[in-house]
Symmetry: C2
Subunit: 165 residues, 2 copies
């Protein structure tokens, strides 16, 4: 068990908790598993996957497993009220595409992830890892998806902190 | 401006903030406006409203403006992958209905709302007010909707607290 460093009584009601410690937690400590689909997946199949995996967003990858887009429930809903045949339409047409999407890294602080979610009004952020070439050089804008941080993650942290007090 | 009661330096890195104060905030201080539809609204029109109002859930009311159900993006998505004509189908068929839904009241603590959202795995909670009859007696299970608390609300509180430190 973690030592309760920094805990102290408040003058009035109850405890103080070290909020800085909570905000400074790393994304890798709180992330959940990413659910991905290939870019040629149909909108219909993506919706089915969303239900089967019980998530709010799907991440879209290409054949080399590089992140190419993000699919929200709203992206998917938007397609279903049009005239399009969602069995024929690939998710690549409706997704938010790289580089117009927001990501976090394993070493980022939870606060940073929460702030991006709030500021950019997204439901979740893919946790990514930058690809490197054989010489170990970073390949610009090529990311592998290694997790997910969502509004649910943030709400859960908010609740869990209280239960730990 | 609120006096920063209970703030103090931590031994190591940064500040302590009074988490109890944050958790104890009342729902009425943080709620946002509820977006409602009538129970005979079509699934199609509800989806359009969801986009126009830019929310994640809609609350369904009857002709007396009593809360009768909640519609999530997933409830709506589920309908669009079936064979049903979403122009003909009323939302009352797909909504989660009273009394099988979770609500909060103005005087509840933010923590309680967050815990319900996490425990019951919902995106948002309608903030409700119990109806009373002419004698001032509470009418069981009859609620008016007076707001909304969502995962976004919780994430925003989480971020704002840090910015106030």
């Amino acid at each position: 068990a973690k030592p309760k460093v920094g805990y102290t009584y408040s003058e009035g009601s109850g405890y103080l908790n070290n909020l800085e410690e909570i905000y400074g937690k790393k994304v890798k400590e709180v992330k959940s598993v990413a659910v991905v689909v290939k870019k040629r997946t149909s909108v219909y199949d993506a919706i089915v996957k969303l239900f089967l995996e019980d998530v709010g967003s799907l991440y879209v990858i290409d054949d080399d497993e590089i992140l190419v887009g993000v699919l929200s429930r709203k992206d998917l809903l938007k397609m279903t009220i049009g005239e399009t045949d969602i069995n024929q339409m690939p998710v690549s047409v409706v997704m938010t595409r790289m580089p117009h999407l927001f990501t976090v890294k394993d070493e980022d602080a939870v606060f940073e992830a929460a702030k991006k979610i709030v500021d950019y009004e997204v439901d979740s952020l893919p946790v990514v890892e930058q690809l490197t070439d054989q010489a170990g050089e970073v390949i610009e804008d090529k990311f592998k998806v290694i997790g997910r941080v969502s509004k649910t993650t943030i709400a859960r942290i908010f609740v869990d902190c209280k239960l730990q007090i």
